[in-house]
Symmetry: C2
C-alpha cells in the first residue's frame, strides 16, 4: 500500500490540505480534525452513496451524521436540487456550526460546496471526490455552483473546502467513460503549463486507463499540485487562473447546447481542447503536427476530438455567455505550444467559425 501524500493549497487563512492515497475513507482522523462542530451532513448521489456512504459514516461515528442523497447527473446540478440540501439541513436542525461533506464526483462537489457557501451565509465543507475528474480538478480550488438552462456554472460562489480527501481506491468502481472524462482534465494540465507531464501522459496512457495504482497516484498528485499552484496565486480568477479553463468555453457550450448530462463534462472539455488547438493552429500559433499530437493523445484516452454534429451554428451563441466575456467581447484560452496557454481576445472570428463547423461535419 502506497503512503498517503499531502499537498497544501496556500491561501492564507483559507489554506487547506489535499490528502491523496488508498483507503483514506476509513481514516477518521483526516476528517475529525477539520470538523468544528458536532453535526455533519453528507451530500452524495444515488450511485455513490450505496458504495461508500456507510463506510464514511462509520468514520464519522462521533458526529450526528445525516445524509442528503441527490439524483446522479449533470442535469441535476440546479438551484432547485440545491434546495433539497437546504431542506435536509433545516429538517435535521443543522446550525451554523455544521459541516457539509461532498461524497461523489464534480456535480456533487459543486452542489454541496455551493450549499455550504450559502447555508446561513456560509458553513465549512469537506470534499471527498470519488471520480478521477473530481480528484484532479473540481474538488480543488473552491469554485462551487450550479447550472442555468442558459449557461453552465452561471450561479455559484468561491468557497474553499477545509480539506480534500482523495481516496484513490474509490476509482476502482468508476465506469470507464468517467475515468476517461477525468483524464481529459489531466491532459489539460500538461497542455496549459506542464509539458513534462504531457510527455509522461504520452508514455503512460495505457497504465492510466488500466488504473495501475502508481500511475493513477502520480497523475492525481501531479494534477493537484499544478492546480494548487495556480489557485494559490489567483484565488478568484482575476488573471492566471483563467488558463485552467482551456477547452472549457467550447466545452461548456457543448454541454449547454446538447443538454446537460448528454455529454460528460470531461468529454466536452476534451473536444474543446482540440478545438482550441485547431483554432490556435489557424491563427498560426501552433504547428499542425502539434495539433495532431494533441488529438492523438486525446483519442488514446477514448475521448472525442470534435463536438457533436448539428449544433455548430448554436455553439457560438452559447459561448457568448461565458464568464470570461468582458464588455461583450469573448476571450478564449488558446495555445502557443504544449505547456504554453494564453488568454486572448485576439482571435479571428472567421477562424473560430471554421473550427466550430469542423464539428458539424462530424469528423
Amino acid at each position: 500500500m502506497s503512503p498517503m501524500r499531502t499537498l497544501q493549497v496556500d491561501l492564507g487563512p483559507r489554506s487547506y490540505p489535499i490528502y491523496i492515497g488508498r483507503g483514506l475513507l476509513d481514516r477518521a482522523e483526516l476528517f475529525v480534525r477539520h470538523i468544528p462542530g458536532r453535526r455533519v451532513l453528507v451530500v452524495s448521489n444515488e450511485t455513490v452513496a450505496p458504495l461508500y456512504l456507510e463506510r464514511l459514516q462509520e468514520s464519522l461515528g462521533d458526529f450526528q451524521c445525516d445524509a442528503a442523497i441527490l439524483p446522479d447527473g449533470e442535469q441535476y446540478k440546479t438551484l432547485e436540487v440545491t434546495g433539497r440540501v437546504f431542506d435536509a439541513l433545516l429538517e435535521r436542525h443543522h446550525d451554523r456550526e455544521t459541516t457539509l461533506i461532498a461524497l461523489g464526483g464534480g456535480v456533487i462537489g459543486d452542489i454541496a460546496g455551493f450549499a455550504a457557501a450559502c447555508y446561513q451565509r456560509g458553513v465549512p465543507f469537506i470534499q471527498v471526490p470519488t471520480t478521477l475528474l473530481a480528484q484532479v480538478d473540481s474538488s480543488v480550488g473552491g469554485k462551487t455552483g450550479v447550472n442555468h438552462p442558459l449557461g453552465k456554472n452561471m450561479i455559484g460562489a468561491f468557497h474553499q473546502p477545509r480539506c480534500v480527501v482523495a481516496d484513490t481506491d474509490t476509482l476502482a468502481t468508476l465506469e470507464e467513460c468517467q475515468l476517461c472524462a477525468g483524464i481529459a482534465e489531466i491532459i489539460k494540465y500538461g497542455l496549459i503549463q506542464d509539458r513534462e507531464f504531457f510527455e509522461w501522459l504520452e508514455a503512460h496512457m495505457e497504465a492510466l486507463l488500466g488504473r495501475e495504482p502508481e500511475a493513477v497516484a502520480f497523475a492525481v498528485e501531479r494534477s493537484c499540485r499544478d492546480k494548487a499552484q495556480v489557485v494559490a496565486v489567483d484565488e478568484r480568477e482575476s488573471g492566471q487562473r483563467a488558463l485552467l479553463n482551456l477547452g472549457h468555453t467550447f466545452g461548456h457550450a457543448i454541454e449547454t447546447g446538447s443538454g446537460y448530462g448528454n455529454w460528460l463534462h470531461g468529454e466536452a472539455v476534451a473536444a474543446g481542447m482540440c478545438m482550441a488547438a485547431r483554432l490556435s493552429a489557424r491563427q498560426g500559433w501552433l504547428a499542425e503536427a502539434t495539433v495532431e499530437r494533441i488529438e492523438a493523445l486525446v483519442r488514446r484516452a477514448r475521448l472525442p476530438v470534435v463536438p457533436p454534429a448539428g449544433i455548430a451554428s448554436r455553439l457560438r451563441e452559447w459561448m457568448a455567455v461565458d464568464k470570461k466575456v468582458r464588455d461583450g467581447r469573448l476571450r478564449l484560452v488558446l495555445l502557443r505550444g504544449i505547456g504554453r496557454a494564453v488568454l486572448t481576445d485576439g482571435f479571428d472570428e472567421a477562424a473560430l467559425t471554421a473550427v466550430l463547423e469542423e464539428g458539424a461535419a462530424g469528423a
Copy 2:
C-alpha cells in the same frame, strides 16, 4: 433642500459610501462612479417600479439598463424568485462586468444582493433603498439572502454593495405601516447601543411619524452611522454584530410561524424587542419601569408589543433554527439597560416559556 450627507462603511477594500438626502435618484454621478461596466440590471418590485424605475433609468442613460420586476412581499423572498433575476441576467446577456441595482425595500435588497453574490460567482451591486426600514438597516452591512419555509434568511451570503443611495424623498410614498416598520429598527439602535438616540426618539416620535424631513434625515443618518460602526468592526458577525439582532430571534420566529408576509419584518422585530425586554426583566437584568418605557415608545410608533396569539407553542421551535444557535444551544440578545445589549445563552428556559406565552394570551 437639505444637503446630501455621506457616511463611509469602513471595510478595507470593501469600504463603501452611504449617500443620504433628497432627490438623489436623479443624481446620475452618484451611480456612475460605482458602475464598472456598461450593463446594469435593476431589480425592483411591482409596487416600487411604477413609482421610481423610470427616473432611475433616466439617470442611468449611459448604460444598457434592464430590469427584473418581482412580486412584492416577504413571501416572495425565495430561492425560486431569485432564479428569475438569473433568468433576466442571462436572457439579456449580462456578463461578469454587470452591476445589479436593488430598487425597493428590504426584500428587494436581500434578493438582489444575493443574486449579485451568486451570479457568475459574484458581481457588483448598488442598494437604492426606498423604504425606511431598508434605508436604516437592511441596505447597509452586506447581509443578503432569502427565506426557507423552515427558517428566515437561512440561505444567503455576505456581499457588500458598492454604495447605498438613500433618497429620503422616496419615503413620501410609503404606506404608514411600512413607515412604522422602519421605526422599529430605528428604536433598535437606541436600545442596543445609543441611549441618547433612544431619548431623541422619545422626544421626536410624532415628527418622525409625520415624516418631517429634518427628523427623518436625522434618524436615517444616525441609524446608518450606528450600524456602520458595528459592521466595520465585525463584518461577518463573529461577535458584536450579533447585537444588531435584538428582537430578531423572536421576530424571525414570528414571521416564519405566522407565514411570511403576514407580519411585516419591522412589526415582528418590534414585538420581539419587547419580548427580549420582558425576558431581560424576568432575569432581573432590567427594571419593570424600563420595560414599560420601551413598550410605550413601541406603541407610540403604532407597533405591536406581543406576538400574534395562538402560535406560542410553536415559537420556541422556530427560534431553534436561529443562526446564532451554537452546538444546539440558543443564544439571545437581551438587555441590561437602554443602550446596553448583550448576547447570551444564560437565560432561564422557564422564563422564556413564560414570555412566549404572554403572546398567546393575546394582550
